[in-house]
């Protein structure tokens, strides 16, 4: 671990220790770690992430979420359930929100991906980021990048014309802290501002 460990270093180290202590021994159904792909099995992938063209050689099994987090070091998109049930991994592909955990990276070849890291303009927050702060729309923050990207897409879809429609439109993003009223308030704050 580095001298001044970041939150992620601590988390990774913590999980490694847990495994070392055998705390996960009861998890019989966890699939065995996949064998690494042989170099000959790697494939080329080119896509645009937050306005930057990226060319990589990847294991075809890599999901878009793992590509962002592990290959590109963009850890804003979160791995919550890893099975399309929580929305913490939400990113935009060509402007449309998707769950990046259920897409193979190869499926987005040539597409434009926007993650939470690509939303602000320099030091200036995206209006939705600012609205989340103004409305206190998060507690632990784990689901927040997904919530914000989902909210940005929801407004672009133009269907958030009532509070009920906001709730329905945000239903693909679970918040375990239960910050829903404030999340809805943040979306409401920006609705109609074009």
């Amino acid at each position: 671990m580095p001298p001044n460990p970041g939150r992620r270093d601590v988390l990774v180290g913590g999980i490694a220790s847990a495994i070392g202590l055998g705390l996960l021994d009861g998890c019989a159904t966890v699939p065995t770690a996949p064998a690494a792909a042989a170099p000959s099995d790697l494939v080329d992938l080119s896509l645009e992430v937050n306005g930057q063209r990226r060319a990589l050689r990847i294991d075809p099994r890599t999901t878009l979420l793992d590509l962002l987090r592990e290959n590109l070091g963009l850890t804003g998109a979160k791995k919550g359930c890893d099975m399309g049930q929580c929305g913490a991994c939400t990113v935009l592909v060509d402007g449309q929100r998707i769950d990046s955990c259920l897409a193979l990276a190869l499926q987005v070849e040539g597409r434009k991906v926007t993650t939470i890291e690509g939303l602000a303009r320099g030091e200036e927050l995206h209006p939705m980021q600012a609205a989340f702060i103004e409305e206190d729309a998060f507690q632990c923050g784990y689901c927040t990048p997904g919530q914000i990207l989902s909210a940005v897409a929801l407004l672009a879809e133009g269907v958030a014309d009532s509070d009920g429609a906001i709730r329905e439109g945000m239903s693909g993003n679970i918040c375990r802290c239960g910050a829903y009223p404030n999340i809805c308030a943040a979306v409401r704050r920006l609705r109609g501002r074009g």
Partner: protein, 324 residues
């Protein structure tokens, strides 16, 4: 996830040629999920998502929807909303906006069950591993089928879209090594019987190209009602697609299918026929609902589905009768 080779199909012909022995990948929301769980382990993936199969086209007698049109695209299409409100409503009641932006029509046709035992490699499942047994039969059955099950499998069909398409009597157009053919919607999904591992009436290598939905007066006056454990983003406990053609105060034609209760989308033509000639009123709807759940076999945790399905059907028929 197991190793696989990946190929992006350059054309439909290319895909069909590569088809036998491979799995077709469209949106991936089901397939990639099940590959991660190692429930499905195709050694070859043929990506068909870039093929020109996304169009939605009005024909004189119906709507042709491309296999790779996304759930979002179909649900928002003006002709779908006008001609088949039940289909738009069913699609919008399923999954989440993120998933609907990616999930496709053909993928939804091939959506696999959410049976917890099918998804868990540590338990017995005849669908996943033929002959291994069925842990659901003596297991937690709240989310299992009460119609169409067998002693080998009671896995529930999870799709909302398919319930609407079953009611609308869609036709599925496929292409395979032996050419093109049409499959009536009711024949596409197979009952589990002795072979729950056989789920679709597709021959090896056959690729779904489109779904055709015939125009009908009942389709224009159709609604979808879905009951679930939370307000949104949950699979159905019971659902119903219902459409009515009403003339001179009587039902001229009816379309009715149930979801959340069957091992396949559950259309009951006898229930539709029982509505014909009747006044569009509660007593007729209740009789049709009774017929629709005939033969149901409930288990420890899902006996409530009988009454819930009946009431859901009555509600959907009532809304359809009220019109848009």
């Amino acid at each position: 996830m197991r190793h696989f080779s990946y190929q992006r199909a350059a054309s439909v012909e290319d895909a069909v040629r590569a088809g036998p022995g491979a799995a077709f990948l469209a949106g991936g929301t089901s397939l990639v999920d099940l590959m991660k769980l190692e429930v499905l382990n195709p050694s070859r993936l043929v990506d068909v998502s870039r093929l020109d199969l996304r169009g939605i086209e009005a024909r004189p007698d119906g709507l042709r929807i491309g296999a790779c049109a996304t759930n979002s695209e179909v649900a928002a299409h003006p002709e779908v909303k006008r001609r088949f409100p039940v289909l738009s409503e069913a699609l919008l009641s399923g999954a989440s906006p993120q998933l609907r932006n990616v999930a496709t029509v053909a993928g939804n046709l091939m959506q696999r069950t959410r049976c917890a035992y099918y998804r868990d490699l540590a338990t017995a499942c005849n669908k996943r591993e033929p002959g291994s047994g069925c842990a659901a039969l003596e297991g937690w059955t709240r989310m299992h089928a009460i119609l169409g099950g067998s002693e080998r499998c009671i896995a529930l069909h999870p799709s909302d879209m398919c319930v609407a398409m079953a009611a609308l009597q869609a036709v599925i157009h496929v292409r395979g090594p032996n050419g093109d053919r049409d499959i009536p919607f009711g024949d596409f999904h197979l009952l589990p019987g002795d072979h729950p591992e056989r789920e679709f009436a597709l021959e090896p290598g056959e690729l779904v190209l489109s779904v055709f939905i015939p125009f009908s007066a009942a389709g224009m006056r159709s609604r979808y009602v879905k009951v679930r454990d939370r307000a949104s983003y949950a699979f159905a406990l019971a659902s119903c697609a219902a459409g009515l053609e009403i003339a001179s105060g009587k039902i001229r034609a009816a379309q009715l299918a149930l979801g959340g209760v069957g091992t396949k989308p559950w259309r009951v033509p006898e229930a539709e026929q029982a509505l014909q000639g009747q006044s569009p009123e509660r007593v007729a709807f209740q009789r049709a609902a009774e017929i629709a759940v005939r033969g149901a076999q409930t288990r420890r945790d899902n006996a409530f589905k009988m009454e819930l399905a009946r009431r859901t059907a009555v509600r959907a028929l009532t809304l359809a009768a009220e019109g848009a």
